[in-house]
Symmetry: C2
Subunit: 221 residues, 2 copies
């Protein structure tokens, strides 16, 4: 009997319905609020590199909170030196510390630094990426790898993922309206119970679409 068959789209519809009902209860009927933010170039740092660059046992100093709970911009900054001795100074470190250091640049930054072939990666996926020299107030580190352009991505929790009908690793589209309107076609979905719905663009992406000029923004599967 046809009525006994539940196909994938029907399952998705049911899951979305359940998620919607949950959201209606928990958010007074409103769909999840999407926040789109621009990440300027920055560095994540590991304990070992922190020791060299800022002194043994040094800690990151809280400057301001970031959108995702527990993340923050630190007061500490470094200078990064590229392959042809070009440099970017005042590169902000974001906390907390991580297991491996990583430098995230927009293409414009990377080209300025002489790394024209910077790979596009999700944060943390730094195998076989270019390195750089990092200069801090107390010392110098040669990063063997870790210089990436962050792939555009959306953070969300499982309820929000159910609302959109997406799974870990899926790609979504993000349409930005306005005069410089465009649609990002490869927005990586990153699901974590601690996350808040939030798309991260880099400065090239934000400036290409004139993100600051529009509120007409749509995230969809």
């Amino acid at each position: 009997m046809a009525s006994a068959v539940i196909d994938r789209s029907m399952v998705e519809q049911i899951v979305r319905q359940v998620a919607l009902e949950y959201l209606h209860k928990s958010q007074n009927g409103k769909a999840p609020v999407l926040t789109v933010q621009t990440s300027s170039r920055h560095m994540h740092i590991c304990r070992e590199d922190m020791d060299v660059l800022f002194g043994p046992g040094s800690e990151l100093t809280f400057d301001r909170p970031l959108f995702q709970e527990g993340n923050f911009a630190a007061r500490e900054m470094v200078t990064v030196v590229g392959p042809r001795n070009r440099l970017i100074s005042n590169l902000r470190i974001l906390g907390p510390m991580r297991n491996a250091s990583q430098v995230e640049l927009a293409f414009t930054d990377a080209i300025m630094l002489g790394i024209n072939d910077i790979p596009i990666r999700l944060s943390g996926d730094i195998a076989d990426t270019p390195g750089a020299i990092i200069i801090g107030p107390k010392g110098v580190v040669e990063l063997k790898q870790g210089v990436i352009r962050a792939a555009i991505h959306v953070h969300m929790n499982p309820t929000e993922a159910a609302y959109f009908g997406v799974s870990q690793g899926d790609r979504m589209k993000l349409r930005i309206g306005g005069e410089a309107g465009l649609t990002f076609n490869n927005v990586h979905v990153r699901i974590d119970p601690a996350s808040r719905l939030n798309v991260h663009l880099d400065t090239d992406e934000a400036n290409a679409c004139g993100l600051h000029l529009t509120k007409d923004i749509e995230l969809y599967k």
Copy 2:
């Protein structure tokens, strides 16, 4: 009788068919070849400002040809000074001279210069746009207006326009594939018999999509 009615879509179809046949004859059956190019920040200059900046009666010196017939990058460069005395030096002038001077910047450049609200305009449409101070080797000009971010646009000739089924002032979409793939949703159509099929991006747009990393490009209505 229904057969006597020719609606707009039918007309478009006929025009496209005629254009296709023309293209088949003239290009051995190949669709028009699309070239997508990045325009770095640059200036167009008028006779009067040329006189002040480079000396009375001075002419632009040919450096290299641009894609559109007759256009060229000149050897002459200027410094542009923004509202808070920030500056961009080595701003290239593109020839030939025009009726009005104009500075075209990417958003990243404009923000660097302190013009955060730079308007997005088609080239030549400079009424009520910000100005800037321009410094040349022989003098200084205060541009009252003319600093814009160029709206993304495609140049084509009437045959190519018929092939795509578009008219002057229409908007098209440009899909760029690859890891940083995106679709520009507002590509202005500029039709001129002397034009060659060619999309102009600025550096923000080119870097946002990693234009140099892909050949998967599609222009459509």
